[in-house]
Symmetry: C2
DNA sequence: CGGGATCCTACCGGATACTG
DNA sequence: CAGTATCCGGTAGGATCCCG
């Protein structure tokens, strides 16, 4: 991961490279295949959710990918993980305030995109005409 | 590309699957390695920029990746491409209103992330302590 | 100059099998 | 149940060469 956006975000020009990389990592992770879906499932629930319940709601995800996704979310403080030493084991995930804040700040971008869908569709049609 | 976020964006529940996929594609592309940097370079300039000028400013990008990035941007109407049949050839790229709008709507997310960097750093430190 | 074509590598994510 | 370990195909992206 390198030093993107450098000149763009003048506000953050003073940001140390290392921290800029972190910020970049956080934001780009949001585009990971299952991340936002997983996060939004937890947000919807509001209360703790077991691994298997999450997996049911995030349709199509593999355990491997869900585990990886939840690890990332936990690592960045967007989700908390609590393990109960029972048999069979129980693990519960809960979205944090930070996680809710993230969703809150992603949504406007998503809504704007949806509102401009016709622009995007038109652009793609024109492009396909030009190129074939 | 599948049917993510399904339940999350209640506002868009009525969205046809195909259009949801498009919206998802548009937004997740923003995390592509060179896309936002390229777009921001064009936004900064404001006026048309030649391929090689862009490549200078987006430090580290290969021609292949820059070409691919610009094609995507052009395809989605975020950038226009004008070719001049000269020798040697000249190609100019210009950001569109749609492109500027996109940047405008990505920036709040970026700023929020930067403002919460210490939260993320703290979360990662704690995580590393727990896990090692 | 602005790419296209090709080769190569790293990594992502799915499928499957195994385990505390 | 909630993972970990392993294999594997597809793809993103860098490097290089070539062409109008």
């Amino acid at each position: 991961m390198e030093n993107h956006w450098k000149m763009w975000n003048a506000e953050c020009a003073a940001l140390e490279p290392e921290r800029e990389i972190l910020a970049l990592e956080i934001t780009t992770q949001m585009a990971d295949k299952w991340l936002l879906w997983t996060l939004s499932v937890l947000a919807e629930e509001g209360s703790p959710l077991r691994f298997s319940r999450i997996m049911e709601r995030v349709e199509g995800v593999s355990q491997k990918s869900l585990t990886k996704t939840l690890r990332q979310l936990e690592r960045d403080g967007l989700v908390t993980r609590e393990m109960f030493p029972e048999v069979p084991p129980r693990v519960e995930y809960t979205i944090t305030e930070l996680g809710l804040g993230m969703l809150e700040h992603v949504r406007p971008l998503w809504l704007w995109t949806v509102q401009n869908l016709e622009n995007f569709e038109r652009a793609r049609r024109k492009y396909d005409e030009r190129r074939g």
